[in-house]
Amino acid sequence: MGAAQQSATGIGSENGTRVGPAGASAGVLQPHTVGERDMVQLLDAAGNRRHEDTFGPYVDELDAETLRGFYRDMAVVRRFDAEATALQRQGELALWVPVVGQEAAQIGSGRAMRPADYAFPTYREHGVALTRGLDLADLLKLFRGISNGGWDPRENNFHLYTLVLAAQTLHAVGYAMGIQRDAAADSASEPAAVVAYFGDGASSEGDVHESMVFAASFNAPVVFFCQNNNWAISVPFEVQSKVPLVNRAGGYGFPGIRVDGNDVLAVYAVTQWALDHARSGKGPVLIEASTYRVGAHTTADDPTKYRASAEEEAWRAKDPLQRLETYLRAEGLADDDFFAQVKNDGDELASHVRRATLALGGANIRQKFATVYAEAHPLVAEELAWFENYEAGFAAADTQTSQGGAA
């Protein structure tokens, strides 16, 4: 997609029409400023550190322990993700939503948050969950169908996964407006901000627009963090938007930053900047992290049906873990022992998650009926009766099958 197509006037002169560009008169919107190739990058795909005046200093001040921590988190969440995927394949989860490829966007942004900040995730923020200190085994309860949530969001300021696309952006802005009001009522309260996670697909939802309008109007302390992983299930990004999403921030009147979402250092730095901006009362920021969903949308999806493997290969070359490992080794900040330890930590987490998941037992659907309303309700009772009847019929058929069926 060339720059011509990104012209904000949107009136091309192709097809032989006489309509040319709208010109530069006052009143004519000028093209957006962030192009497809523009993005903040502090560590390139080959693991070389890039100099940058505004965001570089956020990383310069980090010690080796922190940098190693970034790597550890990314590697551990990747290992966790592989285990969860295997558990789904073994029939232990109804569904799983893989995160591979997006570790830097999640660990970098998650690590930039303070305990008092609050995250509103989609259903794929396993990396952010790790940085918030959740027991990752809790994430699997939802996907096993035994819980509507799985954890108490207040314990780690990490909201429940939201499966309704983009709905959490509204919740996030509402929460941010609450923080604002708390601060107005009690000036001693700790400054805090909210991070609203969403994806390129969700960016087309009306909820995102409404939440950004409200956030701008009320100057809410919220960072809109868009992981643009290039695929909304099977819809490629170029169908989603003609211009990089970050340009939309200009329309709402708040700052926007496009960052290399596979560069954990850059993601960390820009999120720090945005959170500082929000906490200090300057209002919302939109971050577009350019990344890629290397695997399937969910375990029920098969991306080979809608995209070419060459594209996946190209993105694998920008792997977020590989470039940080290269950097850490080149700078002498980490050695083989460290990487062996990380692998060990990942395997330990994986076996913990496996044990915890197998111990969860099955879903109790009767409990769902019991908790629709606080008190008994005739419709729910009727539906429960229908269900019991249905289940009874099912069991009988089961018995027949096993009696007559082959071994």
Binding site: V76, R79, Q88, Q90, G91, D301, T304, E312, L321
Partner: protein
């Protein structure tokens, strides 16, 4: 002895009810760790590898390659643990080597069974292994054809292999337009003759890339066996008769416009089918089975119709065709053809045939010596019907002429009987009004 564990086929998609066992990666006696790949399965959505939930020794595979099994069916028994069960191996990929065989590689595979016209190469297949073994960016398995579901459906309906269609869409996607222009091209000339001489598309013989080897299996294998069994056990005798089918053509024409047959496809095959049933009743020995010490005469007609289907040659039959009115027979023929074309002919549809018709005329062929469907003793080949010079009362006039061919098992049907049967069939084609008899 410790107890063994049974792994039941899970629902790996959302709401899937069954899957096909594509290939076991383990066998009885193998030692497996948790998350070792056990088997590759194909669901309606994709091909998926199932990692082992248990560690231990494989005691028994409970289903075989190629089986389609329901979700919940026990597929493998893994015996007493050889390793601590909770010590899980990292599934598919160690976390620290993302570049080689990433854990979340796309689910290898093709789509719903029906459109799996060509299975793309899988990771770990010989071709993938040979290429650049240690390179971190080893070439990924070639992607299957990209196409949206409505296009896949249309391709399936048209019996076109999407892999054969030249894509022009975004990211190399096959569009509906591509599909339709491919169909038009196909209709214009024999399929893909253009680059046929260039190279063999499939697995080539190592020493000569121009030689293509096609594995004999499935329907091809079954057809071959049936034909050899029949041709070399039943002494075939074939006879032919030319027929003036002009009245049949008129009759078909009238049926097409009659209100009674509105919406029903009528073709000369319908009249032939009726003629065969009629003639068999007058010459019952053609509707029989040879067992060696008995001849079994069938007082019913399960009329087989040979059909080229996406899966190969099938001979489904119309059960108790003797009971059907002309209209019912027309409907039954249409249903049989539709089912066969969709590749949905069931084994039961093909069982118990008593006599077969092969409509080679549909391909423009005049006649041939068909091979009898095993278990039967007669088969009728229906040639193309075209205008030819015909002598009527000393004058040469253009008439709609066809050739009927028949092969008979001489152990049961002697020359005179086969001749009478064919003459009866021919009589009806010449004068369908005889059916009123």
């Amino acid at each position: 002895m410790s107890t063994s564990n049974i792994f039941k086929l899970p629902d790996v998609g959302e709401g899937l009810v069954e899957a096909e066992i594509v290939a076991w990666q383990v066998k009885a006696g193998d030692i497996v760790a948790v998350n070792d790949v056990l088997v590759e399965i194909e669901t309606a959505k994709s091909i998926v590898e199932l990692p082992s939930p248990y560690a231990g020794v494989v005691a028994e595979l409970l289903v075989a390659d190629g089986d389609t099994v329901e979700v919940g069916t026990p597929i493998i028994r893994i015996g007493g643990s050889a390793a601590a069960p909770e010590e899980s191996a990292s599934p598919a990929t160690p976390a620290d080597v993302p570049a080689e065989a990433p854990a979340m590689k796309p689910l290898v595979g093709s789509g719903p069974k029906a459109d799996a016209v060509r299975r793309r190469p899988r990771a770990g297949s010989p071709a993938a292994v040979e290429a650049a073994p240690a390179a971190p960016a080893a070439p990924a398995p070639a992607n299957r054809v990209l196409a949206k579901p409505p296009v896949r459906k249309a391709a399936k309906d048209l019996g076109i292999n999407l892999a054969d269609v030249a894509p022009t869409g975004l990211r190399g996607e096959v569009t509906k337009k591509d599909l339709l222009s491919h169909r038009d091209q196909q209709a214009a000339g024999p399929a893909a003759a253009g680059d046929f001489w260039a190279h063999a598309p499939g697995p080539a013989v190592a020493e000569d890339p121009r030689i293509e080897r096609i594995k004999v299996k499935g329907v091809r294998k079954a057809t071959a066996k049936a034909m050899v069994d029949s041709a070399f056990s039943a002494p075939h005798v074939s006879i032919f008769v030319d027929v003036d089918a002009s009245r049949t053509m008129e009759f078909v024409k009238r049926l097409k416009v009659s209100r009674d047959f509105e919406g029903i496809k009528v073709s000369p095959l319908l009249i032939l089918a009726k003629a065969v049933i009629w003639a068999a009743a007058r010459n019952p020995s053609v509707n029989a089975t040879w067992t060696g010490d008995e001849i079994i005469i069938k007082h019913f007609m399960n009329l087989g119709i040979a059909a080229a289907t996406p899966r190969g040659l099938m001979v489904p039959n119309i059960k108790d065709a003797q009971e059907l009115s002309l209209k019912e027979l027309a409907i039954a023929l249409n249903a049989l053809a539709t089912t066969a074309r969709a590749g949905k002919t069931q084994p039961a549809d093909m069982a118990g045939g008593s006599l077969t018709v092969t409509n080679i005329g549909a391909l423009g062929i005049d006649t041939g010596t068909p091979i009898i469907n095993p278990g039967e003793v007669a088969i009728v080949a229906f040639g193309t019907i075209k205008q030819k010079p015909w002598v009527v009362e000393g004058e040469v006039v253009p008439r709609w002429v066809t050739t009927l061919g028949g092969s008979f098992d001489h152990r049961v049907v002697d020359g005179d009987l086969s001749a009478r049967f064919m003459a009866d069939v021919a009589a009806i084609m010449e004068e369908p009004a005889l059916l009123l008899d």
